[in-house]
Symmetry: C2
Subunit: 124 residues, 2 copies
């Protein structure tokens, strides 16, 4: 499967899970995974899951605007995934712009998230 197809499959699953059953994102991370959420670093599947499930909004919907993917290693099938999109929070009429980067690492026929960096994009 080409990088774009894997990235599309991953982000479809990731944001659908985030929006509907955030606790289930735990399976995508490992003990050595890293998340930087709005500048705050969190490490490990447990810490990352706790961070994601305690964000200060109840209802959230991600809409992906752009999706780019590149192989990120010369020796393994690692994948860099870069997303920009809109975040609709608690039915607010004003979606927030966000951008997010993942690095996916192949593992037994699937992928886990080693790197995850999320930022809201505020206007000038």
């Amino acid at each position: 499967m080409d990088p774009e197809a894997i990235a599309k499959q991953f982000t479809d699953f990731y944001y659908n899970t985030f929006d509907n059953n955030r606790e289930a994102l735990r399976s995508l991370y490992r003990d050595h995974s890293m998340l930087t959420w709005e500048g705050q670093p969190v490490a490990g599947a447990n810490g990352i899951t706790e961070k994601l499930t305690t964000l200060p909004f109840a209802k959230v919907l991600h809409k992906v605007t752009t999706l780019d993917a590149q192989p990120s290693s010369q020796v393994a099938a690692n994948l860099l995934v870069f997303v920009t999109g809109l975040l609709v929070v608690d039915d607010s009429p004003n979606p927030l712009q966000f951008s997010q980067t993942f690095q996916l690492i192949p593992d037994n026929g699937t992928y886990y998230v080693l790197n995850d960096v999320f930022r809201l994009n505020y206007g000038a």
Copy 2:
């Protein structure tokens, strides 16, 4: 040096070079480097340099708003760098928001760019 310090040093150099002497960015890329610019994939130092030096603006200024960094390998000192910022193009009074991800690979005491993904962030 910690990841944030390396990322700061790299982005200071990268955007200063981009804004003042774009051709000199060539030294940061290798033959197997990848750039995805607004969804367009370009490969190799020569192709990337040609792309960057022929972008449709004469004068450009990058202002970094946020900078995040994470180690991106368990076996090497690779570094994921994530930037959001503003792009002032040809003295336009309306800066454009951008986000950009790099993966830096250590090489003989310095770093080169293996991955580079750039996107402008348009409003909702």
